[in-house]
Amino acid sequence: MERRELEARGFLVTPGFIDLHAHLREPGFEESETIASGSRAALRGGFTTICAMPNTEPAIDSPGLVAEVVARARAARGARVLPIATITRARAGRELADLIELAAAGAVAFSDDGSPVDDARLFRHALEYARTGDLLIIEHAQDMSLSRNGVMHEGAVSARLGLPGIPSAAEEVAVARDIAIAEMTGGRLHLTHISTRGAIASIRDAKRRGVRITCDVTPHHLSMTDDWVGGSRAFAWERGGSLAREDGPAPVRSIDRSPSSRSRPSLESPPAPLATPYDSATKVNPPLRSWSDVRALWDGLADGTVDGIATDHAPHASVKKEVEFDQAAFGISGLETALSLVLGGVSVGWCDRDTVIRALTSGPARVLGLPIRDDDWIAIDPDAEWTVTPEALVSLGKNTPLLGRRLRGRVVCAVVGGEVRYEGGLRGASPVGSR
């Protein structure tokens, strides 16, 4: 094999990121993403390993389909793709899939993501049965009766916009249920894309009691609030102009409409970039929550309640998003912007950089029970600025509310199994000769 020497001095070199939660859409929705495009987008974002969610068409619920995903990923030569299989057959929530055979075929975990396993009894049996082989169950914790018809976080913004809400309680009720069932069964449970303050508190408490649960949060829930649906584009740490104010600064586009307050320029906050409200790129499930929730996620990250940062990369073809807000598909294309977003919170001191890097590397590895590979590594230029444009994104999913935004921090090199699979902007990164 050709040996190359890379000059990465001045860059941050870390193990390759591991994403516990990505949607690659293949088979079935190749207009939104393919295994090849998604696994290459992953490298661009610094992820050398991604776990592919099974809510494809057909859903990944048989050993043959798992093997097919593995084979296509190998041919794509992007990031390593670890398939997740469904918990229930056809992801229909009625009977268990063949978990042990699926694991033998290469499934690293099981999830009906997109939906929770609504039937608590079936969920109990999944966790119990998965104890054979200590298989990992990943749950999208959401009470479907409480979230029904909801399209954004329920709060002051949804009230103003006249959009049906998904209350925080929809997640918190489900997390409480899942913790109780995990505790009862002793199964290995991972709660993905946790988004609310109350859910973080429940998980923190359960971990202290010794319940075997882990959880992840997404970069978008760490950086954006429900104000984004109303047209704000201020990151959580930018709100109000003063950094990290604990009392939650005033919303960017407040409903304070008394005559005295009208057209009074705010003296303390810089004008936040305003976008047209009801941008379907801000529609995601779980929804972008309040400022207080965002702070709680960072606190959870800092104190170890949160085990990993996972993208919930959810690419969609434009036809799924170029529609009325309430008709649009849920999801944000997130693999390529994740690093920049989390570095934003680091830059204001909401968490230290090492903790964030661990949440992208050793944290998820531990959730999966996998070692950190020293032949998978990346180089980061934390100060490089780049503009998010459809052309700049490798993913077929251009659905991100960050389009047009200048971000800081980018991956300049990604190495998988000792092979350089992505190079971009690594100064002096050309091969210095084979030896």
Binding site: A159, L163, R257, S258, T276, E322, F325, D326
Partner: protein, 315 residues
Amino acid sequence: MRWTRRHVLDTDDWSTEEIQAVLDTTGAMVEVLSRPVRRAPPLRGRTVVLFFAESSTRTRVSFELAARTLSADVVNISASGSSVEKGESLYDTVRTLQALGGDVVVMRHGSSGAPYFVSERTDAAVINAGDGWHAHPTQGLLDAYTLRAALGDLAKKRIVIVGDIVHSRVARSDINALVPLGATITLSGPPTLMPSAWRCGQTPAGTTYEPDLDRALDGADGVIALRLQKERQEGGLLPSLREYTRVWGLTEARVSLMRPGAPVMHPGPMNEGVEIDADVAHGARSLVERQVTNGVAVRMALLYLLVGTPTLEAS
């Protein structure tokens, strides 16, 4: 003041001056409507497209009358019989609207925010004639005009809005039009029909929530009752229409808790005997028909401000 807005999507960011400008212009339009020949030329040569993706007779006819009175050409794209019912996407419809080349698109749509989607993709001025639960700006403005005509200056006046607030674009637009004029608003109705944030103390500025309607009406300067959709009961939000009527229905006894002569309004269509008794709906305090008449004038005012040429002389 100089009018600068290109669209009327929501009044939530309008200044007091802008609202007043519309109301003052509405006054001039009321005068046009009182002429023997109700016709003025400022929209001659302009095309107004009425795009109603959700059925509505009253609002559509009101806009049509407003546009024709100002001499505009009117094109209708309504839900029944149009491609909207055949599942044509909003995106396709907008491209068609754009190709037709109307000057103004007046749109009614079941999805909150749909007018923003259209305004971003067309060169026409877009007037929101009601979108989902979000906004119905012309209703808010006509209610403000009607109340101002009845009560004079709205500063320190207290108006009650009662009913299904959470699903009501009318309630939101009434708040946005009345609060900047100095009015305070008491919202009333069942807690299940209030946005949860507003029920829990985060009401919009200038508004409060009082579930007890008698207390809300006590000493008020006016009341706006909202239409109660019968499916709210099936959705588990209400035990029964009978109980709703008993607790939140406007009766003669209730409205007399307000100041003497305080007006009663309703955006229509009314469920008489549910949210409002027939004798209140048609009684001495009722401004319901005045609202309909003023609705035409407000819509004329907006069309004129958006695309009119500055002459109101009779043709």
